[in-house]
């Protein structure tokens, strides 16, 4: 069944969408889109590491992204630079270092475009396993920390005062972000992963009135984007990442019309 590359890509993409849906909502709620970008940029360094050490790509991306996240937390404590400057510093320097390292690795043929924008041809059966097992673990952990994470997203002090331990939930969530980037890098590519997190969730925000609904719509939006995007990618021979994100954008635009209608109804 998984012999066909397109079926593999579809199954992988669907797995990714189930996880990016709920995580993407938190990225929007907690204003972490630039943070997601930073982790994704640093993933290139993880990929090069995987190639040089002949290591599993997802695992090494996960490790590097987690390290970058930890570095960020340390820098925030030790410098007076604003958060977005630190994020920019880490995002671009890790991307640059990754590209420099690739320059040295002349003995390996690299598909840079595939890395940056995703390559459905590259999805193997092993990748499917990583995405679905990894994705299930991420979702399970997210479900376990949902209450403290959501409560502290709404108000940190309430969560802390009423004994929910929001700091631990935040730390775990950071690790989950690194993990989702690691498992989805092949599908969407490192430049567009944050788009996969944000755009379906943003679409969902436009049409939902409660947090639970926003998560569900975000997952549905992600699934539709993947399916639409991959068929487009197959049909027109475009990169998978940009095709999926374009599909997501299309859905987002549709959701804007929904808002206009509801405003009209109100008046």
């Amino acid at each position: 069944m998984f012999d066909d590359f397109f079926i593999r890509a579809l199954v992988a993409g669907i797995g990714v969408a189930f996880v990016t849906g709920p995580l993407g909502c938190f990225v929007i709620w907690r204003r972490l889109s630039y943070f997601g970008d930073t982790l994704a940029h640093s993933a290139l360094l993880g990929v090069t590491l995987a190639f040089t050490m002949e290591f599993n790509i997802a695992l090494s991306v996960f490790i590097i992204s987690s390290l970058i996240a930890l570095t960020l937390i340390q820098l925030q404590k030790r410098t007076n630079l604003p958060g977005d400057a630190l994020l920019g510093l880490l995002a671009h320097s890790s991307l640059a270092v990754g590209l420099v390292v690739i320059g040295f690795l002349t003995f390996i043929r690299f598909d840079i475009m595939g890395l940056l924008f995703g390559d459905i041809l590259a999805v193997t059966v092993d990748d499917l396993l990583i995405i679905w097992v990894g994705g299930a673990v991420i979702l399970l952990i997210l479900k376990l920390i949902w209450k403290p994470l959501f409560a502290s997203t709404v108000n940190y002090e309430l969560a802390e005062a009423e004994g929910l331990n929001p700091d631990r939930a935040k730390a775990i969530f950071t690790i989950l972000m690194a993990a989702i980037i690691a498992i989805s890098i092949k599908m969407v590519g490192l430049l567009l992963i944050t788009g996969m997190l944000i755009i379906p969730a943003a679409m969902a925000r436009n049409i939902s009135s409660s947090p639970q609904r926003m998560v569900i719509y975000s997952i549905i939006g992600g699934l539709l984007s993947v399916i639409l995007g991959l068929f487009t990618s197959l049909e027109f021979n475009t990169s998978s990442g940009p095709s999926i994100i374009t599909a997501a954008l299309f859905l987002f635009i549709l959701s804007l019309f929904n808002i206009k209608q509801s405003i009209k109804l109100k008046n």
Binding site: S209, S210, P211
Partner: protein, 248 residues
């Protein structure tokens, strides 16, 4: 270590500073089951800080905090909620603890905002939101309630009703309440213990004791002192029909 089974939270010489500036220092107080402890003091005197020390929100503190309960309801003074979150009153009620529908309804009815249950939190007025905050805090039937200016922005009649409700909750649930308020009139009639803060504890005791205290008078003026004693007055005797005074 808890010699007195009724103690819910106890501060021993507690203080907190940010960047070498003390927000509050040397605060000792305890909240017991069924008792209302009120913090008063001018702006910037460390009332909210003291509440946050008691709640464990501030961790790097001087002194000691002993907490004997985890069932806590908190109404913060300032709450900055990101209104881009799709959050209805109903979702907000179960923020820190899952509750049965009837319990949510009951709490919202008590504070008079049951009709707002399905409304978006961002669409509420300041007073309405304050009522929702209070409903949320009492709905989980806490052992300790920490209320930081719980009736700010609430209309005058509502204010009195909510203070009566707070008193009733304290009696019914037998929970301890740490209350912060500016409103000396309304609060003092129900308070068991007053702590007057001004960067440190300037005086504490029953409302009557505090009213007599010179530091308190210096801080709030003679008039405020009369307010306090008037309430105490109402408590310690009854006026009979003939105009005579009858001791309780």
């Amino acid at each position: 270590m808890n010699a007195n089974q009724n103690i819910l939270v106890k501060l021993k010489d507690a203080g907190f500073k940010i960047n070498d500036k003390w927000l509050v220092q040397g605060v000792s107080l305890q909240v017991e089951k069924g008792k209302i402890v009120t913090l008063i003091g001018p702006n910037g005197s460390g009332k909210s800080t003291t509440a946050k020390i008691a709640l464990g929100i501030y961790k790097k503190i001087e002194g000691e905090v002993e907490k004997y309960t985890n069932k806590i309801g908190y109404v913060p003074q300032k709450i900055s909620i990101d209104w881009t979150l799709p959050l209805r009153v109903n979702d907000f009620m179960v923020l820190t603890e899952s509750l049965k529908n009837e319990i949510i309804d009951e709490a919202l009815s008590l504070t008079g905002v049951i009709h707002l249950k399905d409304k978006n939190l961002g669409d509420l007025s300041g007073g309405e939101f304050q009522r929702v905050l209070l409903a949320r805090a009492i709905s989980k039937k806490p052992e300790l309630l920490v209320l930081d200016e719980p009736v700010q922005g609430v209309d005058f009649t509502g204010e009195i009703a909510l203070y009566e409700l707070i008193k009733k909750i304290s009696d019914e649930l037998n929970c301890g309440i740490l209350l912060i308020s500016h409103d000396l009139h309304t609060v003092m009639s129900a308070t068991d213990h007053v702590v007057c803060l001004n960067g440190h504890v300037c005086c504490s005791g029953t409302p009557m004791d505090v009213a007599k205290n010179n530091e308190y008078k210096a801080l709030f003026g003679e008039q405020a002192s009369q307010i306090l004693s008037r309430y105490e007055h109402r408590h310690d005797h009854i006026h009979t029909d003939e105009g005579k005074i009858k001791k309780n």
